[in-house]
Amino acid sequence: MERSVLMVGIGGQGIQLIGKTLALAATESGLNAMLAAEYGGEMRGGTSQATAVVGDGPIRALPILPRTDSAIVMHDKFSGAVPERLDADGFLMLNSSIVDPAKAEGDHTLVSLPATDMAREIDAPQAAGLLMLGAFCRLTGIADHDHLVAAMTSLLPPYRAQHAETNSRALAAGAAAVSERDLAAVSV
């Protein structure tokens, strides 16, 4: 069993943090994981992408994925609404605060969440990515909340440690925002 997630956005949305959080949470819960990252030189606004693969044995997938089962699109500036390498029948999560779901035509399973707006609403404006990750993990079961929180906390550099609590709330809010209908759609 191997499952892949492609996470895309722009610099500043926390793409790298959510990639590491997911991979670390999976590892801490006993699974094999691989995380490859790609980003431009700019600190903010440039391309940012992370690829995580989780499995129960040594990962065979390539660090540059030719195809992915699922994708999280926080911003479509560099990837479009539907990343090219997403399986035709894959699972796509869109940040509808920024990405117009109408642009995401295709046979894939689509779940949209206004993550940026929701993050602002819970007073965690920088944690939209984590909010999305919380929802993604609730929907796919790829990692559980406790491991996500522990991973996120250990990944924060000393100068960001004060955000652990806010980030934790964002992960929970994302999971809570998942509806029964979404769960049903994904489990098909």
Binding site: K20, A23, L24, A26, T27, E28, G30, L31, N32, A33, M34, L35, A36, A37, G41, P58, I59, R60, L62, P63, I64, P66
Partner: protein, 364 residues
């Protein structure tokens, strides 16, 4: 007490951190480095971890200074290493030759930016008759094993050894188990300098010229360098490593090393499942190149497709050993990111697949 060791737990580690941890697991106690992408992460990890395990890591002022510090540390018997990317290793060539010829074991981590340093490690840019044992891992877990093996082989033969890494190995995070390899014990380093034989008439000397001392002459450069040449020949015979899949009935064999080998193996597996009679050969030691194994793996194949991300370096070794030189085709090429610091678009499964399919369609 159980005779079976507990397996080490899975840890998500960035490649350079995993390599640093593997080096420390191998009892590496001295490390030097100069920041240079994508080697920098290894220096930073060592900077953090080395002092915690009682060793010393120096962020040096030049690669030349660094490799020479490492030689000094190794001369006292400590396991010592340094590294850079190809450009920095270029500066270290004199010292690598020196260590080869005065028999000082060190490990050099070439976290290369691409596959263009194949000649650098297999032919060397130093002086004199020496060869450098080089391992090219395909991914982070293999790099963790190779790191331990390189320290062992360096000590076993008293030579510098090289790990050929790259940006994907350096920067990908993978769940790895830092399991110590079960390696045979090595004799004590009685040649190491510690001052203790001063004034005894049996004091030690480390010198490429190996003339020894007036009361205990050495072999001198002529005999010493000949003996070293014999040592490298014996290493060549016994230290070749490679991996081959589906070669027995293969009409086509794809040959690749390092990360490229991981990608080609993936594509070959796919093509095999689709019914193609295709196999895969991956040299693991770049030197000594597993020539006979390659010859055997490609015997009878109509096509030997060499995929490497450079203008054609390993292909020269393939040509030297393959039975049918006419079967050899280069399907790789230079491919660099715009930054110049990493691989370009050719290191991608669909691209590689396309090139193999195109080659299959051509008449042999």
């Amino acid at each position: 007490m159980s005779a079976v060791a507990q397996p080490a737990k899975l840890e998500l580690l960035e490649g350079t951190t995993a390599i640093a941890r593997a080096a420390i697991l191998s009892d590496c106690r001295f490390f030097t480095g100069y920041p240079m992408s994508p080697f920098t992460g290894l220096l930073e990890s060592m900077s953090d971890l080395m002092p915690k395990s009682g060793g010393s890591c120096v962020n040096v002022e030049s690669e030349i200074e660094g490799v020479n510090m490492t030689l000094g540390a190794a001369a006292t018997g400590a396991r010592a290493a340094t590294g850079s990317c190809g450009q920095g290793v270029a500066l270290m060539q004199e010292a690598i030759a020196e260590a080869s010829l005065n028999e000082t074991p060190i490990v050099i981590f070439n976290m290369a930016r691409n596959q263009q340093d194949y000649f650098q490690c297999t032919r060397g840019g130093g002086w004199g008759d020496y060869r450098t044992l080089t391992l090219a891992p395909k991914d982070v877990p293999e790099a963790v094993e190779h790191t331990q093996l390189l320290f062992h082989l360096a000590d076993k033969y008293r030579v510098p050894t090289i790990l050929y890494g790259d940006p994907l190995i350096a920067q990908t995070r993978v769940g790895v188990r830092l399991q110590p390899l079960d390696l045979p014990a090595l004799p004590p380093k009685d040649w190491a300098l510690d001052g203790s034989l001063g004034g005894t008439g049996r004091s030690r000397q480390i010198w490429t010229w190996a003339l020894g001392k007036r009361n205990a002459p050495g072999p001198g450069p002529d005999r010493h360098w000949q003996e070293l040449a014999e040592k490298f020949e014996s290493m060549a015979a016994s230290e070749q490593r490679w991996e081959a899949q589906h070669v027995d009935d293969a009409e086509t064999v794809v040959v690749a090393f390092g990360s490229a080998g991981k990608f080609t193996e993936y594509v070959v597996d796919e093509l095999r499942e689709e019914g193609h009679q295709i196999g895969h050969f991956r040299p693991i030691t770049l030197w000594p190149f597993p020539g006979e194994a390659l010859a055997e793996a490609t015997r009878g194949a109509r096509r030997v497709l060499v995929f490497e991300l450079n203008a054609g370096q390993m292909i020269e070794d393939v040509r030297q050993f393959a039975d049918d030189r006419k079967a050899i085709r280069a399907i790789g090429g230079i491919s660099s990111a715009d930054s110049g610091l990493s691989f370009g678009p050719l290191l991608d499964a669909p691209e590689i697949r396309g090139r193999i399919i195109a080659a299959l369609k051509e008449e042999a």
